[in-house]
Amino acid sequence: MKTAVPTAVVIGVGNEYRRDDGIGPALVAALADHWLPGVRLVVSDGEPARLMDDWAAVPLAVVVDAVVCEPSAPGEIHRTDVSLREPADPVVETHAHSAGSHSLGIPDALRLAAALDRLPGRLVVFAVETADVGFGTELTTPVAAALPRLVEAVLGELLANTTERGKPTAATAAGRDVR
């Protein structure tokens, strides 16, 4: 669902062949059934240049991703309103320079976007704790159970964004589903 001038973009980062890492794409698939004018839905592998293209200059970017925690509470959702002036939030801590082609992640994308003026207006990250990121196509039970709450939470962000902007576009759709 690509619009010329989106008011918001929802980016589901992940790999649906790595079990709970598929929560981001699953969220995007769930939102595809909702009427969200002005909202762009994107499934992403998290590659920074693509993230920057997806969110640059968009008033609100909502990124949904899996997170591996120790200790872990699978299915627990962590919301972070990322400070775009100081994006080194603990939840999206920066990793050291690494070796693989996919080695840059969301934190690096944020820093790079800041250096290149390609940040969104606001960035909200939903990180869902995982139980299993091994090979497989199904979400684990606790993460699958978290999906409805995640959908509700993301729709809430979209609603709030539209309300702030004073336009009855996404609010109409999101409001219907949230309330």
Partner: protein, 431 residues
């Protein structure tokens, strides 16, 4: 959603497609082992594909890698069409090459600008490079975007393209759409040329490695999306269907990846192999730039792989423009491919090296077995050999600087460590 106080140790946010680690054992001042540990998805996908319809591998295997999905799709299709006795040529084959050029441009630009160049310029990462040289990083991103534009138009989208099918494409772009694409590619050619000149000025350590080289070969052109034989640096070329006679995968204890050997020896695929074995098929402009950048008739210095990638990017942009100029919209956009009982082999040159697929298909159209040999598992022994040499020569360094050096060494090979790893965790045992 919870906001209760809890101490979290975030070991990774997302990108958990694979993991990689390097385990080094030094005994009495000698490097005993340097094991690159890889956890590799293709093994999972091989199992997943068994029992699926012969039309499914292009869509399923595209998910193995976010950076080179077209390579997986193309090798899969080549193997399936081979098994079914179908040879697809003409405009559909040209469109496949165009799509693959998009992947080369996008992948090479990403690696050159965001991963590899900072190593040569003394920056910790691309962010620091962008802070000081914004125009340069912008150029790289524009180049990458031009590659993505090809992927989006021909493939339907930039990641995991959806317009690719056995026999061709679900829909072929119009001439008008391609003309618009060409307008975006022309400035990309300037950016690609500037990239070669830029990386040619880097300082490269003197290093020549003696790995055997292996690349897909096409007698008519620089092999990208297909070829007729597999050419090697120390032996006669062999047919694609003889791949498994020469390349044998072996299990190693430290990795779920299989490690490939070419007639029992370590070998290297990828830019250095392609350039050394197929250089004569590069375009005049690419050859001129290569010579100007100091590349000779062969390149065996892994640090200079960045120059070869830049030269290949120029070639890919030129080739994309040539294909667009001569484009004839295929009608229909795919040919019929009927399943039959048989075995098929397919190869193509992923940006980081040779990618081989083999499928055994039944008369019912179901896949009996699948074998996928990705470039990184083929290159693993060569990378480990290089790492052993680097560690042995720098044992006086602390673990931190040594890790950085090892990461730089690994980056020379642009590994998709199983599509992929993010952190090279170095474990050093000094005994």
């Amino acid at each position: 959603m919870s906001h209760r106080a809890r101490q979290l140790r975030v070991s990774s946010l997302a990108r958990v497609e694979g993991e990689g680690a390097l385990h080094v054992v030094v005994r009495d001042g000698e490097v005993e082992r340097a094991d690159l540990q890889i956890y590799e998805p293709p093994r999972f996908f091989e199992a997943l594909l068994r029992g699926r319809a012969y039309t499914e591998p292009p869509d399923i295997t595209a998910r193995i890698c976010g950076i080179c999905p077209v390579a997986y799709q193309t090798s899969a299709i080549a193997a399936i069409e081979n098994a079914c006795g179908v040879v697809v040529g003409g405009p559909i084959a040209d469109l496949r090459r165009l799509l693959y050029c998009g992947e080369w441009i996008s992948s090479h630009a990403l690696h050159i600008y965001l991963l590899h160049a900072p190593d040569f310029l003394g920056y910790p990462d691309a962010v620091a490079l962008a802070t000081d040289h914004r125009d340069i990083v912008e150029r790289g991103l524009a180049l990458k975007k031009a590659g993505n534009a090809i992927l989006e138009l021909v493939g339907g989208r930039a990641i995991h393209p959806i317009n690719v099918r056995v026999g061709g494409f679900y829909a072929a772009p119009s001439q008008a759409q391609l003309d618009k694409l060409a307008a975006q590619l022309r400035p990309a050619l300037d950016a690609a040329v500037a990239t070669v000149r830029w990386v040619a000025g880097f300082d490269f350590p003197d290093l020549e490695l003696d790995h055997e080289l292996l690349a897909v070969h096409d007698p008519a052109r620089y092999a990208i999306e297909r070829g007729t034989t597999l050419r090697r640096s120390a032996g006669p070329a062999f047919a694609v269907d003889a791949f498994s006679n020469h390349v044998v995968e072996e299990h190693v204890a430290h990795s779920t990846a299989l490690r490939a050997r070419l007639d029992g020896g370590r070998y290297l695929t990828g830019p250095l192999a392609r350039y050394t074995l197929n250089r004569q098929h590069l375009s005049p402009l690419a050859l001129e730039l290569a010579a100007g950048a100091g590349l000779g008739i062969e390149c065996r210095n892994p640090f200079r792989s960045i120059v070869v990638r830049a030269v290949e990017t120029v070639y890919a942009v030129e080739e994309a423009l040539r294909l667009i100029e001569s484009y004839q919209q295929p009608e229909p956009s795919s040919v019929g491919v009927q399943a039959r009982d048989g075995v098929g082999h397919g190869v193509s040159e992923a940006p980081r090296g040779l990618l081989y697929h083999r499928y055994e298909i039944g008369a019912d159209g179901l896949i009996r077995s699948a074998t996928i040999v990705p470039p990184t598992s083929q290159n693993q022994a060569a990378i480990e050999d290089d790492l052993r040499r680097v560690v042995a020569a720098n044992l006086d360094l602390g673990d931190g600087p040594l890790t950085g050096l090892c990461e730089r060494t690994v980056r020379n090979y642009d590994p998709c460590i199983s599509c992929s790893t993010h952190f090279l965790d170095l474990t050093m045992e000094r005994l």
